[in-house]
Subunit: 484 residues, 2 copies
């Protein structure tokens, strides 16, 4: 049996102390954490700590960590920065090993007192051999443990981990991704990283059976060489997707005032991605875009994409976008084109690639026939379908459009999941965000496709970028395997 | 008095023949054009032409153009490609000068017969000195003339012209832009350009009093040198914004099969933009993004942007994005920071730039005070406000958020339009498109701000890119003026 990893008691605690919760209804911070754990039905023991109260949210309150009868598996500290050192000393004295420091007011302030406190708690953490997340962070979000004291209420537990030096990003991702059916094993917001580092969490996640994809938002790294080696090694079995913030001069200054991080130069990080094969992202959306590919798609054989959409100008745009993202848009074989032309040689439609087939989008049988013919072509490795959602509504000239569009949608889901060619199929689904009706209908279709496990993207740009990164990851691994 | 430009009779026709309209209710093409003109209340005469019908949509039908009593100002041709030469001959014989050929099936097919027909009609057009838009295109959209036989029903007439080699793009832009309060003088979809060229339309628009901003979607250009000179000259008084499609190899192939265009190489077009100072765009959205800046903003003094948003990680992201788009994110002056800190030095907020001020977004008085203080700083040239629409809803912890957010919105509009510093203020407004409630609320806010004349962008990326191009345009003109 593998030895129980020491961080397991932190991620799956049986008891939690919340230092700084309060009976004052206007209080937030610690109190919010406590009420959220109660609301989620955290099954373990909860110990509110506040010297001014005897009862908080229906629970007995303790004047200090020292007065809790049994040392809790985890202490959340939400008190003013100046009081944090004393609370840490209390933790050491009573044998509390796992601590999340929510409080801010340390090195990120850039002020003398904050930096002094940062140094002080770093020394205490080292001396006491504490396992500390933070300070200046949102801490842990572990759906399996019902330990999600911020962010969207977990609607499921999944296999994606997110390590974040931004609590805001961690919160947003918990909201955004779950709506697309992307669920988390662990989200860890770790702020200034005075105790546990990105590297410590990575080592845990590398062996964590609940995690198969690792995503990160990073501002700074303290041990660059170790980090490179670790990512290189983990990335071979669990894809690591990294958004590195603060790469520009202005961004770097902002990072310094956010988590006190030294952000590093862009060219150093370019080399890092080239060397490790880690997958690059530049926003939360880009992270989820790539994750959907990893969750739902088989690795394609190559970069050659079939584009099916509508409109001549749109076809040119799709081809330009894919090319710029490194995908190829090959000619279909003469035989395929002839077969396609037999039934889509209508005015303004084209059987080349991109296949300009808007007239098929409201006829599920023709759409199915065209798609199967084109995907069967051996020059094709993967497929991006461009769905004009703004044409999927009934109108005067085309009553019944929406029912037929619904059928086309059902067919697309079935084809994407079960096509006999095993070729990845994804959707680019862009509504008119400034039109309430279109935005609402697009949001519904997004949920339909994404929750069914079809990677669904907000634009051709997003789709081709995510696929390019996905293929790039697999080709890197392939080369590595060949060399090894 | 200036001589009446010869294209005026085409753009402002008093009579229109629709060749290929039909009494058959299943017919489209010409019939759709006719019924749309009727629906819009086109005030001039309409002449449906079809040898098989005597009455079409309540109007007397004519067997041919030759049988129309007075030559119409404009003929729309929507018949099979093989019949187009004969109709053009009829136009010449009866003195019809202005023609829109909707029909496709020419060089864009890449087939021998199509290319032959393309050559044939080109010869007829030249011989007859016809003014022809097309073939293979949607033609004209002129709200002022009630000549908008496709696209969104015009809700207003404005000063933006759009020249497009894609009918799909022309249609989409008419829908997308009007919802944001961007109205058109003329949209011209001109397809294969066998008759009138982009250059001809540009010469017209240069002197068109109804047009002050010119936007284009181009696939190919026939007279490169003339085009460069013309854009360079027009761009000095009317900004020219160009989306060049088909710049990649795949895109170029798609352009050839769309409008039979030779698309040209990316580096040639890079030089074109550098040389002419024309504004580059890569999508319809990017076109509208820049247009909003030109319509609503005074040119800023420089590139130094104030970013106001929320969240530490988000601040880092905003700074990175702006830097990559060429904007500067300067430190605020020490004095400004001290004043700001006096009331926003709350935990987790920052008075640096970006100003991390999410706590102010639900308190209009504090928001106003912070904004006025920061914008007054002389290191600032312009402002991007990042509004978290997903925080603008009421929730358990913050009842009344939405009313206060509404007040903040009203204040932002007033400040953007009337701030005493004359500094441009724009919004980045990004909702969660995969969440129907958020998407709906965002769409509503989009309309609120955009229709009030505040440039509103779907993301920080879009906002900073548009502003960077807007400033770049003015700096180019400035340099040019200095030299001249």
């Amino acid at each position: 049996m593998p030895e129980l990893h020491e961080l397991d008691t932190m991620f799956y605690p049986k008891s939690v102390a919340i230092v700084g919760a309060s009976a004052n209804p206007a209080s937030w911070g610690g109190t919010s954490f406590l009420s959220r754990l109660q609301k989620l039905g955290f099954p373990g023991k909860l110990y509110p700590v506040n010297p001014k109260d005897t009862e908080i949210l229906g629970l007995r309150a303790y004047p200090s960590v020292r007065s809790i009868p049994n040392p809790p598996d985890l202490a959340i500290i939400a008190v003013p920065a100046s009081v944090v050192p004393q609370v840490l000393e209390d933790c050491i004295a009573t044998g509390v090993k796992n601590v999340h420091i929510f409080s801010s007011g340390f090195a990120e302030t850039g002020m003398e007192e904050g930096c002094r406190l940062d140094d002080e708690i770093t020394e205490i953490i080292r001396r006491g051999d504490l396992r500390v997340v933070g300070p200046n962070c949102m801490g842990l979000y572990i759906p399996k443990s019902k330990l999600a004291y911020w962010g969207a209420e977990p609607t499921g537990s999944g296999h994606v981990a997110f390590l974040s030096q931004s609590g805001g990003h961690a919160e947003m991702l918990s909201e955004y991704a779950q709506d697309l059916g992307v669920y988390f094993s662990k989200i860890i917001s770790f702020g200034n990283a005075c105790g546990l580092q990105a590297i410590d969490f990575l080592e845990y996640l590398a062996q964590d059976p609940d995690t198969s994809i690792i995503t990160m938002y990073l501002e700074g790294i303290k041990d660059g060489n170790r980090f490179v080696q670790l990512i290189k090694s983990i990335n071979r079995t669990k894809p690591v997707i990294i958004w590195k913030g603060g790469l520009t001069e202005s961004g770097s200054r902002a990072a310094a005032s956010h988590t006190g991080s030294l952000a590093g130069e862009e060219r150093v990080w370019d080399a890092f991605f080239t060397q490790t094969g880690a997958v690059r992202a530049n926003s939360l959306q880009e992270i989820v875009d790539v994750v959907m590919a990893f969750l739902y798609l088989q690795p394609p054989q190559g970069w050659r994409v079939l584009l099916i959409g509508g409109g001549g100008g749109n076809s040119v745009a799709m081809a330009d976008i894919c090319s710029r993202e490194g995908l190829e848009v090959p000619h279909l074989a003469e035989e395929t084109r002839q077969k396609l032309n037999a039934f889509i040689s209508l005015a303004g439609n084209s059987a080349r690639n991109p296949v300009d087939a808007w007239m098929l989008q409201n006829d599920v049988k023709l759409f199915q026939r065209a798609l199967e013919l084109a995907v069967a072509d051996p020059v094709i490795d993967l497929v991006i379908l461009d769905q004009y959602t703004w044409n999927a509504d009934d109108d005067e000239e085309n009553p019944g459009n929406s029912q037929e569009a619904e059928k086309v949608g059902d067919f697309i889901i079935d084809f994407a999941k079960n096509n006999r060619f095993g070729k990845p199929v994804v959707l680019a689904l862009n509504g008119r965000f400034n039109d309430a009706a279109s935005a609402t209908s697009t949001a519904r279709l997004w949920r339909k496709f994404a929750l069914a496990g079809v990677p669904t993207y907000v634009s051709q740009q997003s789709a081709s970028r995510a696929l390019s990164r996905f293929i790039g990851y697999h080709q890197f691994q392939q080369r590595y395997a060949d060399v090894a």
